[in-house]
Amino acid sequence: MLGIPDKAVFLAYALSVFSALLCVLYGVANWNKGDEPIQTEDVQWAKEEKEDIEETL
């Protein structure tokens, strides 16, 4: 197995790669999960931010 004879070490090697893959799959599968509906404060924030940027420009 890639020149690594000890199963415990090979398992750590494999688990590291698989857990990174699991993280990629989890991230993709839950890409939009947990979004909360837009609140009035969000709209207000976006408005203020827009005004601020326009002022700076």
């Binding site: 890639l2 020149g3 690594i4 004879p5 000890d6 415990a8 070490v9 750590a12 090697y13 688990l15 590291s16 790669v17 857990s19 990174a20 699991l22 993280c23 990629v24 989890y26 991230g27 993709v28 839950n30 890409w31 939009n32 999960k33 947990g34 979004d35 909360e36 609140q39 601020d52």
Partner: protein
């Protein structure tokens, strides 16, 4: 000529860092901008910043060197770093932390705990702990970076220390968390490029992936008898179960760092910087790949240095480095890899140090400015937070500099060793003191203020006692056990026929990390005391846990 090229690269790199810090400064208008990057940071930027903060030079050079001695068993730490440090942290701890932070309008980790438990004492004591202990961890990172800079740029150690601290100071103090996130993301990209190049060049140098490990496995017979007696079974094998090396690896190195990451204030605060919960999920892939490509590579290349030194000079890496574990990786880079890579590697190490330092200074500064001075002393007017936090950060940087210089001057070699071990001690302290209280704040409605305070106190006490009197490495370093009880550690039994280690079944108590003992005690304390002390009002719990629309209705 080579020195000029190197200096040009380092200066260009530092120039980019300063520019990004300045961009953070330009985009900082409010307290929330300064403390939490406006709660609007991009998930990938946040994930890279989290990873780059988590991984300091000690993870690459220190633990890479440890892997050169212990072998590839350290790959288990890569797995736990990804699984616990990224997956569990982002998928389970991240969303409730972000929600709770938003509902309680908390801007720092101590403020999150203080508002959840409605306790100024919890907020102030958490902040004090951060302000007192984190500078030690920061000075360890600062000193190692200054050491590399002075060696490569021909500066004196003091000059390198002040130059490096000055540049970090400018980008953090001015740019706030936005500056930190921008520079971290850039530094994470540099680190990834440097580490991937390190792996590919090493495989190329040693004849390819499988050939390199076959050579490493064949080195089994070269393990020094001293290490074999402690349980070493070769660099491609895990140490023998229950042996001293097995306990050092599993009981000290792996558990302390793996669990401690969940309650690191500078990392937790990142969950509060994103706009939506979904962005925490989107951050997971980038965070995991970053850890795999940085620490994973450091632990793969570390053991392989033995093959290179054995082939070229018939020595092992540790012998070649004169017994200094931290010298192994830099020495290997200089001896085995092309000169251009030394420049990339130096910039990689500077990035690792700088990204960790900037977040540490930000957290220490806000602990002093926001939590201790503004909230703890009750100073009014929110506009002061920015100024107080900036003053706090300057104080933090000066404190870390002072520790970096004075610990060595006052305590000599012991001082340097205390600083070197402070990273592990800080991780352990965070796990023992903050983790139970933080986890209960997120999920346990029945946790009480008295329970939280008791758990913090008991966690701190049991950690410190175990570290000073039982855990052999730290107990021997601080020397209190020797002075009071005449033995390096209370776990060493001295008999006329010689020393033996206190053992229960397979457990070698002197090699069990203090956090493994303190954490269960603190968990028990919060559960028990909370069961018998007054609970929080339903109103407060609704504010903490119910969705905002129901909360406003309540």
């Amino acid at each position: 000529m080579e020195k000029i090229t190197l200096a040009a690269f380092v200066l260009a790199y530092l120039g980019i860092v300063l520019f990004l810090g300045w961009r953070g400064f330009r985009n900082t208008r409010t307290v929330t901008d300064y403390l939490l990057a406006g709660r609007r940071s991009h998930p990938w930027v946040m994930a890279l910043s989290y990873g780059a903060t988590f991984i300091s030079t000690s993870a690459i050079v220190g633990f890479g060197g440890v892997a050169a001695v212990y072998g590839m068993g350290l790959m288990w730490l890569t797995f736990t770093n990804i699984f616990i440090g990224i997956f569990i942290a982002f998928a389970f701890f991240g969303p409730p932390t972000r929600r709770l932070g938003l509902r309680l309008d908390a801007h720092t980790f101590p403020e999150l705990l203080g508002r959840r438990y409605r306790s100024r004492a919890i907020q102030s004591s958490s902040a004090a702990l951060i302000f007192l202990f984190m500078p030690l961890y920061a000075s360890a990172v600062l000193m190692s970076a200054a050491k590399f800079l002075s060696e490569h740029l021909g500066l004196s150690y003091q000059e390198a220390l002040y130059l490096f601290a000055g540049i970090v100071a400018v980008s953090v103090v001015l740019g706030g968390l936005k500056g930190v996130l921008y520079t971290d993301a850039f530094q994470a990209a540099v680190m990834t490029a440097g580490m991937v190049a390190l792996l590919l060049l090493s495989y190329y140098r040693l004849g390819g992936l499988t050939a390199a490990y076959k050579k490493l496995a064949a080195l089994h017979s070269a393990v020094p008898p001293r290490l074999t007696a402690l349980g070493h079974q070769g660099w491609t094998a895990f140490p023998a179960f229950g042996s001293v090396l097995w306990w050092t690896l599993v009981g000290s190195i792996m558990t302390g760092v793996s669990i401690g990451v969940l309650a690191q204030p500078q990392l937790v605060v990142r969950f509060m910087t994103v706009r939506r919960e979904s962005e925490l999920h989107r951050a997971i892939p980038i965070g995991a790949l970053f850890i795999l490509l940085t620490v994973g590579i450091a632990y793969l290349v570390g053991p392989l240095t033995n093959v290179f030194f054995h082939e070229t000079s018939d020595t092992l890496a540790l012998q070649r480095a004169g017994g200094d574990v931290e010298r192994i990786i830099p020495m290997y880079v200089t001896a085995a890899l092309p000169p251009f890579f030394s420049i990339l590697f130096l910039v990689t190490l500077l990035s690792a140090a700088m990204s960790t330092l900037s977040s540490q200074f930000h957290v220490i500064g806000t602990a002093l400015g926001r939590d201790l001075l503004e909230e703890g002393l009750g100073l009014p007017a929110r506009f002061r937070t920015l100024h107080l936090s900036r003053i706090g950060m300057v104080a933090a940087i000066l404190f870390a500099l002072l520790l970096g210089v004075e610990m060595e001057r006052i305590l000599g070699k012991t001082g340097t060793e205390i600083v070197a071990r402070s990273t592990a001690i800080f991780f352990g302290l965070c796990a023992s003191i903050f983790l139970p209280v933080y986890a209960a704040a997120l999920w346990c409605r029945s946790a009480t203020r008295a329970g939280a305070l008791t758990a913090m106190l008991v966690g701190a006490l049991s950690y410190v006692l175990w570290m000073l009197f039982m855990q052999e490495k730290t107990a021997a370093l601080f020397g209190l056990s020797q002075r009071w009880f005449g033995t390096r550690s209370l776990g060493i039994v001295i008999r006329p026929e010689g020393e033996s280690l206190l053992q229960t079944g397979p457990v070698l108590w002197t090699h069990v990390d203090a956090s493994l003992v303190a954490l269960p005690i603190a968990i028990l304390a919060i559960l028990l005391v909370s069961a018998f002390t007054p609970k929080f009002s339903p109103d407060h719990l609704a504010r903490c846990f119910s969705p905002p629309n129901q909360n406003s209705a309540a």
